[in-house]
């Protein structure tokens, strides 16, 4: 049973590392950006700008966290 759990854990860890990578902020930003585009589009307003705006904020946030961690 424990070997199955370990296999599931390593499978999950592989895909997490593969897709999410070093920082979850970017993936969260992309999901939020796409959701924002869909919501704004549903409201009948031009929505193309929402995704780039959200991911730029996510990238800046992620870089700030990384640079703070490095202690500079």
């Amino acid at each position: 049973m424990s070997s199955v759990a370990a296999a599931v854990r390593s499978f999950y860890a592989f895909w997490w590392d593969f897709i999410i990578g070093d920082d979850v902020t970017l993936a969260v930003g992309v999901v939020l950006g796409i959701a924002a585009v869909a919501a704004i589009h549903e409201a009948g307003v031009a929505s193309w700008w929402a995704l780039p705006v959200v991911w730029v904020v996510a990238l800046v946030w992620s870089l700030r966290r990384a640079t703070r961690r490095s202690g500079a």
Partner: protein, 261 residues
């Protein structure tokens, strides 16, 4: 435009990862067994080709709307990840990839591993086989995904496959000529450029998949790509200046030669 960008993105993404995998294969080939290292490489490439061959038709059969939403989102996540790493390296917050150092580390590790029980079909040395296989598979898996997803969205997986295969052939040929790690390949600049392309197309397709209509349709990519590049350069310069203020002097080894152009 999409065809040539697709080719360039797949080619350069594959070239960068091929350089990294080649460093490991060279190290185990030199110290352990060329036959096992080359067999591990060949099996790794075959597994990657099987992934592309299996995923390609499956992904291509998805209708364009949902395909662009999911795949655009994935490309954007990959692209931003590559950009983040490239920006941190170019601004000196993260060490640059040093193929010479990695080569020496792999040489030492392979030498100190000692004798490993092996099976005949592995070519005599299972350590060399496994290390080469893992390097090729792990470095190549992300590229395989980029090739499949980018190619499927552009409705041209074969072109992406040809680009990736060309990159592998060129990098392997260069490694054979140089007979050592390809430390002069400007990996960070290439990663930066590929990150810009992936993030741009991911933004375009992801937003379209969610229902947005870009002004000018496909022509908007001619604005998105330069804007993403400019924003990334601005972030790099901003982090560089921030780093230079508290420490006084930026690390020349980390910053030299990596200004994305």
């Amino acid at each position: 435009v999409t065809g040539s960008v697709l080719f360039l993105a797949a080619f350069f993404a594959c070239a960068v990862e091929a350089v990294e995998a080649t460093t490991v294969v060279l190290a185990v080939g030199v110290t352990r067994s060329w036959r096992s290292a080359l067999r591990g490489t060949a099996v790794g490439v075959l597994v990657l080709a099987a992934v592309v061959a299996a995923l390609g038709p499956a992904i291509s059969s998805i209708p364009l709307g949902p395909l662009r939403l999911v795949v655009g989102g994935l490309l954007l996540v990959f692209g931003l990840g590559w950009l983040r790493k490239a920006i941190l390296r170019a601004s000196g917050y993260k060490a640059l990839h040093d193929e010479d150092l990695l080569y020496r580390k792999n040489l030492e590790a392979a030498r100190s591993a000692g004798a490993v029980p092996s099976r005949g079909w592995l070519g005599g040395d299972s350590y060399a086989f496994t290390l080469a296989f893992k390097a090729v598979l792990l470095e190549g898996l992300e590229v395989a995904f980029i090739v499949v997803t980018f190619g499927a969205n552009a409705r041209n997986i074969p072109l992406a496959g040809v680009a990736a295969a060309s990159a592998i052939v060129i990098i392997v040929a260069l490694a054979v000529i140089v007979k050592g790690p390809l430390s002069r390949v400007p990996e960070n600049s290439i990663k930066f450029a590929v990150g810009v392309l992936l993030a741009s197309f991911g933004t375009f397709w992801g937003a379209e998949g969610a229902g947005a209509h870009w002004p000018g349709s496909d022509a908007s990519l001619l604005v998105i790509i330069p804007l993403v590049a400019l924003a990334s350069c601005a972030l790099t310069l901003s982090l560089r200046s921030k780093r230079a203020v508290p420490s006084g002097i930026a690390e020349p080894s980390a910053a030299a030669g990596v200004v994305p152009s």
